[in-house]
């Protein structure tokens, strides 16, 4: 066993350490929670943190591993959130089990976001150059606009959907029958959701996201994606279908954002499209950049620190933003700094060699 661990590649060790770290964090937080040592505001942050970790890790797949800038990641989160809420609310009577409903909502959120990701990605990713940033930026705004005029209700006959583009339609235009549920009410968003998201579900989603992203990166597919990032012309010259692998990475990233959006949406009794705007996309991008491009555990740490920090700093209200800025710089240094990595290489032997393949 000891020998097995010794022979294991450093990258594999880093991956296992990432999984172990997440599991340990989950166990500790759960213990603290059951011991009643977490405040209400801390407990309230647990699910959103999990969602943002998945957002950051999945965005890292596009930005760090594929090397394409995406400025509309929150758009996929939005697609996932609203499709998740629709699934959950319309199945309320037929699927009373909350866990099953949650899983169905997450799967649906992932599938719909993947489809949207495919539609957005296919025209852009065929082009050479940084068009993805512009298109995803527009996509984020467009999806917000669409959901803001979306009316969705449910009755015995199934889903009723209308687009209130000219501003004349109301929920009445859906002509809902008896026992109906109003799910999405245009700009007001969705309200009256059952809050079925749990911290355990969040933890499982983080683990699944990590397994998908890390295993993908360490496979033939991930190598092809990183090859395209490092040198597109060389990747083509060894027979890699560039558009295909760009799409695989981008759609996977969108699907994971959709799943985390669904979890996020089902953590609140109401959600609105404005919560998933450009600022949210940038926020997640900040987590990814500060955590280190292509560095998965870095994304996790950066997300947790930068999400919790503004809350924790509330008591030092005057110095809050100053301290936030200092921490931003420290996180950036810690995850991207060569000296820090060199110091780490002395602690973990042979890290230098393994660092080659992009932890």
């Amino acid at each position: 066993m000891k020998n097995y661990f010794k022979n294991m590649k450093t990258i594999t060790k880093v991956d296992y350490a990432t999984y172990l770290g997440v599991i340990a964090a989950f166990v500790i937080v759960t213990l603290l929670q059951s011991a009643g040592m977490l405040t209400r505001s801390m407990t309230g942050m647990l699910v959103p943190i999990c969602c943002y970790i998945c957002m950051a890790v999945s965005l890292n797949l596009t930005v760090g591993i594929l090397g394409e800038l995406s400025l509309g990641h929150a758009g996929f989160m939005s697609v996932g959130a609203f499709s998740g809420v629709i699934v959950s609310m319309s199945l309320q009577s037929s699927v009373p089990n909350e866990l099953v409903r949650l899983v169905l909502a997450l799967v649906m959120g992932a599938i719909l976001a993947a489809v949207v990701g495919f539609v957005v990605g296919i025209p852009v990713l065929r082009l050479r150059g940084d068009y993805l940033a512009i298109v995803t930026l527009a996509f984020g705004e467009i999806i917000k606009g669409i959901i803001n005029c979306l009316l969705v209700g449910w009755d015995e006959n199934g889903l009723h959907i209308a687009l209130n583009i000219d501003g004349t339609k109301t929920m009445d235009s859906l002509h809902l029958g008896e026992n109906s549920i109003q799910i999405i009410k245009g700009a007001q968003g969705a309200a009256g959701n059952h809050r079925i998201a749990t911290f355990t579900a969040g933890f499982v989603l983080v683990m699944i996201t990590l397994i998908i992203v890390l295993n993908l990166v360490r496979s033939r597919t991930g190598r092809a994606v990183m090859a395209i990032r490092d040198n597109r012309i060389a990747a083509e010259s060894v027979g890699i279908n560039v558009t295909k692998y760009k799409l695989i990475a981008f759609v996977t990233s969108a699907a994971l954002a959709g799943a985390s959006g669904a979890l996020f949406g089902l953590n609140y009794s109401s959600v609105s499209a404005d919560q998933f705007d450009f600022n949210t996309s940038i926020l997640v991008l900040v987590y990814v950049v500060l955590g280190g491009l292509g560095n998965i555990w870095g994304s996790i740490i950066a997300t947790v620190v930068l999400y919790v920090l503004p809350e924790a700093l509330r008591e030092f209200s005057d110095y809050r933003m100053l301290a936030y800025a200092v921490v931003l710089i420290l996180v950036m240094l810690a995850t991207n700094n060569e000296c820090f990595k060199a110091a780490l290489s002395r602690v973990i032997p042979k890290r230098r060699k393994g660092a080659a393949a992009n932890g």
């Binding site: 397994i211 998908i212 295993n215 993908l216 360490r218 496979s219 033939r220 597919t221 991930g222 190598r223 092809a224 990183m226 090859a227 990032r229 490092d230 040198n231 012309i233 060389a234 990747a235 083509e236 010259s237 060894v238 027979g239 890699i240 279908n241 560039v242 695989i248 996977t252 292509g294 060699k353 393994g354 660092a355 080659a356 393949a357 992009n358």
Partner: protein, 283 residues
Amino acid sequence: MAKKVFEKGKMVPVPSHSIIPERDLYKSPILECSHLGIDFGGLAAVKDFNITVGRTEIAGLIGPNGAGKTTVFNLLTKVYHPTRGTILVDGMDTAGKTPAQVNRMGIARTFQNIRLFNNLSVEDNVKIGLHNQTRYNALSGILRLPNYWKQEKMAHESAMELLSIFDMQDLAGHKAGSLPYGAQRRLEIVRALATNPSLLLLDEPAAGMNPSETVELMENIVKIRDTFHIAIMLIEHDMNLVMGICEGICVLNFGQIIAKGTAEEIQNNPVVIEAYLGKQKEG
């Protein structure tokens, strides 16, 4: 004209290895270009380029800087689409193909300005070359199905074997971008070989290498041809290398072929001498 180089094989003195030059005559050629040409902004960078390369031939493409040699490679690998002419690889037309498709048809190449996957390890660079030899899809990779482990093991073994051509197994874990210049050039050759080509294009493989490295490279190019039974076409300024191992040489100047023949013929060709001396006067 197109046939000439091909037939010249007969007259080439047998090189340091044991394969007889007539060997390729009875097989269809691996590459046939006819009337190949490309214009950049109305200016013809390559015109009326005709060449035939035999199955296991080592062919040389030489000429002064800016003659259009790299452009020919870019045309063959579809980085540029030819304005005129046809390219047949193993008898099949490459018109309308992408660079990736041409690679799958059997052409692999290296680049004059090295293009490695710098942030990845040496081993991963070779494994990326093995991309189309490794057969499992993204889902098997994510779920790590038995096929994943089997294929990854095979990829690892093949990568190590290919690296051993240049004695580079020990560098497997290093970042490609951190290698010295000569090793980077060798790694590019290994990566190209990993795609299992039938024609290997080397763009200035000895550039930046010292004389002893160059001699070693020469031996290795011949070794590669002899072990893999493939054709190799190379662009090189080192005349010892070109004259030493190329069976057929093609001289390009201002985008046009000015001479074809064996090393001896090229060395004594007044047109070639003038092209090179003329170049010296300018520079």
